[in-house]
């Protein structure tokens, strides 16, 4: 390969550079080797195994039994929790991600106003993000307590009626509870910090020019801030959606997927099939479907991003 590349060059490179290049490549691979091994042992190997398992019936005790597409057919036709859990997971992501992006951007803009005490406000906004998910699920479980929790107490006081949501105990409200819990952790988190840095990176000249053109606050926001932030919005959006679709621990601890499967997220479905029923083949098929959906969804976002994401450094 190196010789071919060199044939194209006008001045043939001396022999020692070739050795140097080879040396560099070898050293590069040596430094890369932990990850190469890791990717084979802990990612590609297992992925291929689970790909294979998805065409089998495997209960861990007996050897895997090849069944062709049976798992997939069963998932799409018979599994009564497959579609609901998939839909519910997407619905959750499509609510949590836009809301937390808007919230994080608003919080970042607030912190960008040079208010006195900004460092404190930033810390207050950020602390929820640091709370371990399990601890967060435990403490929100108590705050949302239907009988003696503070939230319901306020709701009863304000509305003056005894009717208040049952939150994690109520199929109609459990999802809302989880969404509020997720927003609490997400709004002031990394997303906000990244937005804040993005805001500080918008050149002041652009705002000055907009003012000369007669732009007010709103016009400046729409025509300068938002376009300049599109790469940041895109970055946060992609990561946010991937994170939201994988939600597991929060629901598992706070609601155990209930009540009445109201928060039965897709990851919970896979977990239950794999580690409660020990249907490893079936669960692998579920996982691969999930992977495929996530892949397509992310790919579409990248395709779409060309239409709306503006990179200032890009020449076209």
């Amino acid at each position: 390969m190196t010789t071919k590349a060199m044939a194209g060059a006008r001045i043939p490179l001396p022999r020692w550079t070739r050795n140097l290049r080879a040396k560099e490549a070898i050293a590069g691979y040596i430094f890369l080797s932990p990850w190469l091994l890791g990717i084979i042992l802990f990612i590609i190997g297992p992925m291929m195994t689970s790909g294979f398992l998805s065409f089998t019936r495997y209960d861990v005790v007996n050897p895997p039994d090849f069944v062709g597409l049976k798992n997939f057919i069963e998932i799409f036709t018979k599994d009564r929790l497959f579609w609901p859990s998939m839909m519910l997971t997407f619905r959750y992501a499509l609510i949590v991600v836009p809301l937390s992006l808007v919230g994080a951007l608003s919080a970042a803009m607030l912190l960008n106003q040079a208010l006195r005490g900004t460092a404190w406000f930033r810390t207050f906004f950020f602390l929820p993000h640091l709370t371990p998910i399990v601890a967060s699920a435990v403490l929100w479980g108590w705050i949302f307590n239907a009988d003696v929790g503070p939230i319901n107490h306020w709701i009863r006081t304000i509305t003056g009626s005894d009717n208040a949501p049952g939150w994690f105990r109520d199929p109609d409200w459990a999802m809302t509870g989880l969404i509020i819990m997720a927003m609490w952790g997400a709004i002031g988190g990394n997303t906000m910090l990244i937005f804040l840095a993005g805001l500080q990176g918008v050149p002041q000249e652009l705002y000055d020019a907009a003012v000369v053109d007669g732009a007010g606050l709103w016009a400046k926001f729409l025509n300068v801030t938002i376009p300049m932030l599109t790469p940041t919005i895109f970055f946060n959006m992609v990561l946010g959606i991937i994170g939201a679709l994988k939600v597991f621990a929060a629901a598992f601890v706070a609601t155990q997927g209930g009540p009445a499967y109201a928060t039965w997220f897709y990851a919970l479905h896979i977990y239950t099939r794999a580690f409660q029923y020990f249907e490893m083949g079936y669960a692998s098929a579920l996982a691969w479907i999930f992977f495929f959906v996530l892949f397509v969804f992310t790919y579409v976002q990248f395709r779409q991003s060309r239409r709306w994401v503006y990179y200032a450094g890009e020449v076209d």
Partner: protein
């Protein structure tokens, strides 16, 4: 910013000349604007902090006080002994140690190998490098479930279940794609002239890495370490799947176990106040670390996002 407030206030003064009242003056408008911003900042801080405050206050109440109706804010008499009590009724000390051990060892492995791999991606030219880098990034998207089942089966086969090896060993093989990305981005921002100068002086690749690049990368390494420590401390799924023995639990699964049993008032009162104390004790170390490393941390998080 200040300029915006002045700009919008300026338009108002034009029409306000006739009345010339103080209410229409630019500085008054500006003051109102600032006042509203402060109000929003303070009230949203209160909303964000409320769950913490409530949890801490609940953790200092007597068990029965939590079930008062209407709920009360302050504990009648602060029950500081609730905290030591958590250590008595569950193996809290053991779990804390387990979490600390797992988090420290895997952080060490992950940061060390991520630095090596990031160095490789940032400073060496070799076939398939860019493809491998893209593959690395795309593993961030991979749902953990796709690899979890085979890993479970594999670890079961080699007798690693109910040990910390599944939580620790993978960290020494690159750990996380995000860390590799972070380290690579940082190394790329260090001028390559430094490497070349060192090479002319006879330094090899290892020496350049260890004596030139790493000392310059202390902030990003600290960020990487803190972020990894936090995520390991919080990690739920892996320990939950791989550990069975109660004394081997980490805090994340320990607290869930505690939550599952706290509702059942066995012989005494319910233990929700102790559960709240446990949540505080699990969160506190993370918050302390955040305060110690705040400056680096914010920089690091920002760097990962801006260059993405």
């Amino acid at each position: 910013m200040a300029g915006e407030a002045i700009a919008s206030g300026g338009k108002q003064t034009g029409s306000g000349i006739h009345s010339a009242g103080i209410f229409q003056s630019a500085s008054f408008q500006r003051a109102i604007g600032r006042g509203v911003l402060y109000l929003v900042a303070v009230s949203s801080s209160a909303v964000f902090m409320f769950p913490f405050v409530w949890t801490v206050l609940s953790s200092l109440k007597r068990g029965g006080e939590l079930f008062r109706f209407p709920p009360t804010w302050l504990p009648e008499v602060p029950q500081f002994q609730n905290y030591p009590k958590v250590f008595e009724i569950v193996s809290w000390a053991t779990w804390t140690w387990n979490s600390t051990f797992v988090a420290i060892v895997s952080t060490f492995g992950a940061v060390l190998t991520a630095a090596l791999v990031g160095y490789s991606f940032a400073r060496f030219r070799y076939p398939a490098r860019d493809v491998l880098f893209i593959i690395t990034l795309s593993t961030m998207m991979l749902p953990v479930e796709v690899t979890l089942i085979p890993l479970y089966l594999m670890f079961a086969k080699i007798g690693w279940l109910d040990t910390y090896r599944p939580l620790i060993i993978p960290s020494f093989f690159g750990g996380s794609a995000f860390l590799i990305f972070l380290m690579r981005q940082f190394f790329l921002s260090i001028p390559i002239d430094l490497d070349e100068a060192a090479r002319i002086d006879g330094a090899g690749y290892v020496r350049i890495f260890w004596q030139i690049l790493m000392p310059l990368s202390i902030p990003v390494t600290a960020t990487a370490a803190v972020l990894t420590f936090m995520s390991q401390w919080n990690e739920f799924l892996y320990p939950f799947i791989f550990l069975n023995t109660k004394t081997k639990y980490t805090l994340a699964i320990g607290i869930r176990y505690f939550q599952a049993v706290a509702g059942f008032a066995d012989d005494t009162e319910p233990k929700y106040h102790l559960l709240m104390a446990a949540s505080v004790m699990m969160t506190a170390p993370i918050i302390i670390i955040f305060f110690l490393a705040q400056r680096y941390l914010v920089q690091g998080i920002v760097m990962s996002g801006i260059k993405g």
